[in-house]
Amino acid sequence: MAESLSSRPTFADETPAPPGSRVTIAERANLGLATLQARKGQDAALRDLIQQQYGVSLPQAPAISRAGTIAFVGLGPHHWLAVADGQSHHLAPSLKAAIGPLGSIVDQSGGYVVFRVGGAAIRDVLAKGFPIDLHERAFPPGAAATTVVAHIGAIIWRNDDHDGQPCFDIAVFRSLSRSFWRWFSDAAAEFGCEVKQH
């Protein structure tokens, strides 16, 4: 049997970031991503099952709920994005096994690239592209939004602060990750940007 196919990191052939560390960015490599939609009339049963299986209350708003290594982001009515560390394309089949006929599961591990961004100046950078209010009062940890950044469709959610600094995850379609990086590195240049391995 031939060797496994290897996945390709987004930063592989990008121009380096301007030096400095007031802003950080990392690709969440091998992230498990899958969309979950409730089958007709199965909302309540699905919620109960997710609560029972994963200890997560499915958000009924643009928000993220997390338990351990799995989290669910509310994308729309009856529609969530499941996110799980390190599970890559294995998340979808495992969700499917757990949920059965209550929901429709679709692997999106290849569909999005998720960037984790943070640092002291991160809000000043994001303000250059996101048309939404990411201020502490308007977008606390656990908030999420499906929006646009620099003409690129994006899902953004706020994690718990990291080292006393705000920390966001941004999901963009994989085909647009280079354009996203061109915008981000441009916007972050004045603050200096450190590309981290996640």
């Binding site: 592989a12 007709k40 591990s109 290849g110 303000a127 620099a150 280079r178 354009s179 996203f180």
Partner: protein, 991 residues
């Protein structure tokens, strides 16, 4: 270098320890940090700085602010040259270069000044009257001549080397203007904890407090300002944006603002933009934009040395420059008397205060007497003298006597007009206030309040009081609690005035300095019936220059009111549009210029394709490989022909990841697809793929593609690249709005899967090598239109046996993070089978050879029957578009229908877009029989082939026609043939 003879020995907000060298035209000068170009030029006694737009009159500096109509200069050199910058707002920096505009050969000796002598020709409306005959002259003579003469300044003509950026901000309270009222509002709102943004267009906050010597709470105004700024800076919820002009008000509490980040520096610092465009969303806004001083319209009022009275005070108090030594004041308001006093206190001789009013407050007269200034009440200035600078004025005294005074500075003021442009951007109109003798804001944009001079309250005490009150109200309206703010004490305000606008005069009296509109032009407009303010504006161009008439509109309107016997309230005023200041297009574009104009979508195999010398073509936002150049190849047609031959004889691989892919699940998925496709999908067996066509509601074909069934409740639909988003939107509409009762879930998986088409006689052999250990790819196990999902090299994969090329072909899909590895694995497995990568051009040639329709045929005008797909339209079910597809016009048998073409002369080239005519028929619209949609050179057949939509085409096969292309001189005899040029039985496909 000349000496700075007009610089005062002490005072001002300049930094005398930082000397700055700069140049204007061919001379170099020295100024100080804190100077503007205007103040530094005035310090050197430079009066003449430009020529006017139409008459090329010598012009100087009129104001000390952004409303400046005259002192427009070209700034910087080379690619950074910027025309029409206002010298009054340009902060001096080392090495600054500026040039006067609109003069040739030099500022002092300008040939264009002849226009002034020809002025009878250039009256209002001269365009409409002068260049009428002969008509042919307009394009060849008049317009080029006018274009050469018109315009102000010159653009660099080079790409802008600097960057711009856009940024979003949100706040509870936006304060526009950092003068007394704005600072007072910001402080009150900021102390409540509300998120406050304060924008001020100047580099130094304080507004008039920097130009006037005023006291607040017993200390100088500038000192009070510093304390307020320090407190605001310490508040985490307050942000001050300096050098930032709010230029527009938009719906939903949105404001546009331009921050001049680096305009005051020789070059932008590393990683800093030249300018930053702010989109600010504010729940409440307090507009504290102050007021603009009004000139008086009298003969020779444009001569260099005639300046606005408050501007003169700014030069004295802020910049420590006395703009003249022998001055006079001409006014009708108290405020301008301060200018006389400030001049006298700083050593200038004030030859006269000329006040249009017959009585003024006794304390003003007392102060004038104390300073030894002669006062003329009930008097007017009727004319001025001096070639390039003011040398004398003529004044008419109360007893109708005439006197001439030798002066080099005349400070004028007819009072103040609120700077209310922003209040009118959403359609609200100002109202006339008799007491303030000006138009004041009336109805306001939602969420906005106005404080200080912009409201028509011109006293400092009132500005501070209103600012605090409205800042508090705005914070409270957004849910914050405000402690009652103490209102500071101020010294006495001098705000009395009588409204007056112009003085009859025999010399040219300018209303609009920037557009050279005179009192005579206004009178002409009145005589010729252009009497509404909107007509006056268009006919004379009053207020249509880059300054939007900030110093001129109201004077023009007042004169028109007088000429037509109407009150100011009756005549009204024009309103303003965004932007209130000129904003560079680059600032709006921000990051999005050049290749970043819009984001680009790249497939997972893009890097691999680049390495293999792909040329790319834009397909929507995607870049797709168009062809792959091999060693020794240069011309595209041989490359594409080689790719086609290699696919048809061996095997090729093409990245088809850009095609839309939609995952459809749910117990009603089959039923749902039956309703959106013209053909049946509920009957499709699991493990099979079917070609399908979707119609728009109006019966026209929307898109085509395939749907594969992986489980009873799971399909994957494919769309064309171009229509992927449209189809997704269409299906979501159907699911959410038309049939919410169905159990269907949709999600786009276009980005999830990297998909490669492997086509050619060796395709199966390649697959066996690649996948042989995991699936059976034999014809029996995977017949034509079969599909299978499996795990390959530890990743999920899907294989579809579909063909666009007509060859034995498969599409293999893997999650996109493995797309790069997959294409490399395919190429490796196919190396000794002669595999080649092929691009969209070869793909296009092969689909034309097979008569498959694509975007050229599915063009928004064709029905399924037009495309030869009518038999697919199911009679057993309803579907979107079915009813309207039966309209008589759409079932007319005479409609242009798909047919193939081949040139009678095998060497002739066909052109897409050519029109189809009967042989011998005249090329007229009546004789038009259809048109050519797609053409290609077929390397398989060795000649050009085409697809066309021809009236009753399929019934006319064998007939000869003309493909007539007058645009490219094409007129080719063609034969109508079957659109399937190759392998009509599909032997290759099923091989």
């Amino acid at each position: 270098m000349t000496s700075a003879q007009n610089r005062l020995a002490a005072g001002g907000l300049i930094d005398r320890s930082r000397s700055i060298r700069f140049s204007f035209d061919d001379d170099t000068y020295q100024g100080f940090a804190g100077d503007t170009l205007a103040s530094a030029l005035l310090a050197h006694g430079v009066r003449l700085v430009g020529r006017s737009f139409k008459y090329h009159r010598p012009r100087g500096i009129l104001t000390a602010g952004p409303e400046e109509p005259n002192a427009l200069v070209e700034l910087r050199s080379g690619a950074r040259r910027e025309p029409n910058t206002r010298a009054t707002t340009i902060e001096l920096h080392d090495g600054l270069q500026a040039w006067s505009q609109n003069r040739w050969p030099s500022l002092r000796y300008d040939v264009g000044a002849i226009n002034s002598l020809l002025s009878p020709l250039f009256v209002a409306g001269f365009y409409y009257k002068t260049f009428m005959w002969p008509a042919a002259f307009w394009e060849k003579v008049y317009e080029p001549a006018i274009r050469h003469a018109a315009g102000l300044g010159h653009a660099s003509g080079e790409a802008d080397p600097d960057t711009y950026e856009t940024i979003h901000a949100f706040c509870d309270v936006l304060i526009i203007g950092g003068g007394a009222a704005g600072l007072s509002a910001a402080l009150t709102a900021g102390r409540s904890g509300a998120r406050v943004i304060l924008c001020d267009e100047d580099s130094v906050l304080g507004g008039r407090l920097n130009g006037d010597l005023r006291e607040i709470d017993g200390r100088p105004g500038a000192e009070w300002t510093r304390h307020v700024i320090a407190e605001l800076d310490a508040l985490p919820n307050a942000r001050i944006l300096r050098r930032t002009s709010v230029f527009g008000v938009y719906d939903g509490g949105t404001y546009g603002a331009l921050e001049r980040v680096s305009d005051h520096l020789p070059e932008p610092p590393l990683h800093q933009p030249r300018q930053r465009l702010w989109k600010i969303v504010a729940r409440r806004a307090v507009l504290a934009s102050g007021a603009i001083e009004r000139p008086i319209v009298f003969g020779g009022n444009d001569r260099p040395g005639v300046m606005m009275a408050a501007g003169v005070r700014t030069y004295i108090n802020r910049f420590a420059v006395a703009p003249g030594r022998q001055a006079a004041i001409y006014t009708g308001c108290d405020d301008a008397w301060s200018t006389a006093f400030d001049l006298a206190r700083n050593g200038a001789t004030v030859a006269a205060i000329i006040d249009h009013r017959h009585t003024v407050a006794p304390q003003l007269r007392a102060e004038a007497t104390r300073l030894g200034i002669p006062v003329h009440l009930g008097a007017d200035v009727t004319d001025t003298r001096g070639q390039h600078r003011l040398q004398a004025i003529t004044l008419r005294t109360a007893d109708d006597g005439s006197r001439r005074l030798r002066v080099d500075l005349l400070a004028i003021s007819a009072g103040w007009s609120p700077n209310l442009g922003l209040t009118t951007h959403l359609g609200q109109k100002p109202r006339w206030s008799e007491t303030a003798a000006t138009f004041v804001p009336d109805a306001l944009p939602p969420g906005m309040s106005v404080a200080g001079a912009v409201s028509g309250a011109f006293s400092l005490a009132e500005a501070l009081r209103q600012g605090a009150a409205l800042g508090a109200a705005a914070a409270e309206a957004t849910g914050f609690t405000v402690a009652a703010p103490p209102v500071p004490r101020t010294d006495d305000d001098k705000v009395e005035l009588s409204a007056f606008w112009h003085v009859a005069s025999s010399s040219k009296a300018f209303v609009d300095f920037q557009h050279d509109v005179t009192s005579a032009d206004v009178a002409l407009a009145a005589r010729e019936g252009f009497r509404s303010v909107e007509h006056l504006k268009r006919y004379t161009t009053l207020g249509m220059a880059t300054d939007q008439g900030k110093t001129s509109n109201i004077n023009g309107h007042a004169m028109m009111a007088e000429l037509t016997g109407r009150t100011m309230a009756e005549i009204g005023t024009t309103v303003f549009r965004a932007p209130v200041i000129p904003v560079a297009i680059g600032a709006f574009a921000g990051h999005h210029r050049g290749r970043d104009f819009r984001p680009t979508r790249l497939t997972a195999g893009h890097g691999w394709a680049e390495q293999n010398k792909a040329s790319f073509v834009e397909a929507g936002a995607w870049l797709r490989a168009q062809w792959f150049t091999q060693e020794g190849e240069s011309d595209w047609l041989p490359i594409v022909s080689r790719e086609v031959r290699d696919v048809r004889s061996k095997v090729g691989v093409c990245d088809v990841s850009t095609l839309g892919k939609i995952d459809v699940q749910g117990s009603d998925a089959g039923l749902f697809l039956d309703r959106v496709y013209i053909n049946m999908f509920s009957t499709l067996p699991v493990g099979k793929t079917r070609y399908g066509v979707m119609l728009r509601e109006d019966g026209i074909v929307m898109d085509d593609g395939t749907a594969a069934r992986f489980a009873p409740d799971h399909y994957v639909v494919s769309t064309t690249t171009a229509n992927a988003a449209k189809v997704m939107q269409h299906l979501e509409h159907a699911r959410q709005v038309l049939w919410p009762e169905l159990d269907v879930q949709l999600v786009s998986v276009t980005e999830q899967w990297s998909q490669y088409s492997i086509a050619g006689p060796n395709a199966r052999q390649l697959l066996e090598r690649l996948l042989g250990d995991v699936i059976d790819a034999s014809d029996a196990a995977l017949p034509y239109l079969g599909c299978v999902a499996f795990t390959w090299r530890d990743v999920p994969a899907r294989l579809f046996r579909v063909s666009f090329s007509g060859e034995l072909a498969y599409e293999i899909a893997v999650p996109a993070q493995y797309g790069d590895a997959a294409i490399r694995a395919i190429m490796e497995a196919g190396a000794d089978l002669g595999i080649v990568p092929y691009g969209t051009e070869a793909l296009g040639v092969m689909r034309i050879e097979k008569g498959h329709v694509a975007g050229n045929e599915i063009n928004g005008t064709t029905t399924a029957t037009d495309l030869g797909l009518g038999r697919m339209m199911s009679q057993k079910k309803d579907y979107i578009g079915r009813v309207l597809a039966q309209r008589p016009g759409l079932v007319d048998p005479d409609r242009p229908t798909l047919v193939g073409l081949r040139p009678v002369d095998p060497l002739a080239r066909l052109r897409a877009g050519a029109h189809m005519l009967a042989v011998g028929a005249a090329p007229t619209t009546e004789n038009d029989q259809g048109y050519v949609t797609s053409v290609a050179f077929s390397p398989t057949l060795g000649h050009w082939i085409g697809l066309a939509l021809v009236r009753r085409g399929p019934q006319r096969i064998g007939e000869r026609m003309r493909a007539y292309d007058p645009v490219r001189d094409g007129d080719t005899e063609v034969e109508l043939v079957s659109p399937v040029f190759l392998d009509p039985q599909g032997a290759r496909l099923h091989g």
